[in-house]
Symmetry: C2
Subunit: 257 residues, 2 copies
Amino acid sequence: MSPIEPGRYAGAICKDWDIAGNANGGYLLALAARAMMAETGAPDPVTITAHYLSPGKVGAVLAAVQTVRRGRRFAVATASLTASGKPLIQVLGTFGELGASAGVVERIDAAPPDLPTPESCVRHDPVGGAPRLYGSIDLRLHPADAGFKHGDPSGLLLSRGWFRLRDDEHMDALALLLAVDAFPPAVFNGCLPVAWTPTLELTVHLRARPAPGWLRARFSTRFVSAGFLEEDGEIWDSEDRLVAQSRQLALVPLGEA
Amino acid sequence: MSPIEPGRYAGAICKDWDIAGNANGGYLLALAARAMMAETGAPDPVTITAHYLSPGKVGAVLAAVQTVRRGRRFAVATASLTASGKPLIQVLGTFGELGASAGVVERIDAAPPDLPTPESCVRHDPVGGAPRLYGSIDLRLHPADAGFKHGDPSGLLLSRGWFRLRDDEHMDALALLLAVDAFPPAVFNGCLPVAWTPTLELTVHLRARPAPGWLRARFSTRFVSAGFLEEDGEIWDSEDRLVAQSRQLALVPLGEA
C-alpha cells in the first residue's frame, strides 16, 4: 500500500491470493493494516478488527485511513478498503509497539499445540503466491485434523498445524494476520453439513513479533448455533511464546450442505 | 440516545453508572450500539467491537454514526462516541435480526457454567443505577470466584455468576453488552499483583435475544503476557442457550501492584 494523498493508500490484490476467486480475509486485513501503520506511524497492530462487506477480487484497491486518537503509547485508526468504490472491508485497530512493555506479570494457563514434526504433517495449500506483500505460505496440518480433505473428518472441531512463509521469509507482526485466516476451518472436521463459512468479522490480538522459524497454530470452534459459528485461534512462535490470538464470527449458510 | 440530525445522536452518561468515576465500558458500548441500531434500522447487534480512547464521565455524550453497508440481512456501521468533542470510544459493528436464521446445523461443545443458586452466590455491585438505559444490575458471583473480595483469591483466572436486571426488568440483546463487562476481572482471582485492567478493546458476538430470567456467565483469562491479557466471556440464558460471547484485550499496567 503506497500513499497517494493524506489518508489515502493505493495497492492491489495480487493474483493467486484467493480461495475460489476471492481474496483471503487475512490478506485483505494485512493490506488495510499496512496502510493504517503507515498513517499512524505505529510499528505494529495490537488489536485489529475487520468486518467483511464484499469479496475482494484481483485488482487495484484503495485504503482510506483516519486516525481517531494518537496517544503516548497507542494510536487508534479506522480504515475502509475499497475496490472501484465498492467497500471490501471496514477495519478498526489499535496500533503501537509490541515488546514495549516488559510484562512483569506473566501467567499462561495454556501450552502450544502438540504437533508431529512439519515433515510428518500434511501440506495444505489454501493460497498461492503473494507477490508484493509476501512470498507464499508453507502450511502443514496435523494429520489428525486433515481427515476432512479425503472425506474422513475427525469429529473434533480442531484445525492445528505449522505455518511459515516459504523460503523461511521473515515474518513480522503483519504476517500473523495472514496466519490466523490461512488454515482450513475447524468446523470442516465436525462431520457436519458445512461446506462454506463466510467470515462476518475477524479480530486479532497481537502480543509479540514472532521469533524466526515455524509458527504453531491451533484453531477451534465450540459453538455452531443460530446460523453462526465462532473460530478461536492461537499462534505460538518457535520460542514457545503466544504471539497472537484470533476470533472470528462466521455464517453457517443454510442449504449449503 | 435521541436523533438530533442525520447520523447524530445525543444522550448522557448517567450518574451511578461508573467504577471509580469512570463509566462502565459495557454501558458506553450499549449507548453507541443504540445509536447505531437507530441509524441502520436493524433490531440487534450481531458482532460489535469498541476501542476505548478515554474514560467516560457523567454528562452529555454525542454519537456520530455512519452506515458503511446496508445489505439484505446485515448492516455494517461505525460510530464515534464523544463528550465535549473528546472521543470516548470508537465502534464498529454488524447489525441484523437475531433469530432470523433457524440454524439447521447445531453443535455445542460446551455447557453453561455450573453455579450454586443465586441465593447461595455472593452479591456484587460494580455499578449502581442506570436511569434512562436500564434500571440497575443484580449480579451474583460464584462463591469460589468471590474470594478476591476479601483477600483470598482462588488462584484460578475465573469469574462466574448470575446476571439480571433488577426487578427482573426485560433484557434485550443490548443488555448483553452490559453483562459482558459487568463482572469483576477473572484475573483478580489469580494471586497476581494486578489491581486494574483498563480495556483497550472489547468485542461481543450475539447469538440470540435472551429468554426471560437469570443469565449465567463465565469469564476466563488464559494469557497474561507482554503487558496484556485477554478475557473471554460466555453468557447463557435460562433456556440453556449461548446468547453471547465476548473477548476483550486489556492492559496489565506496570507498577500498579
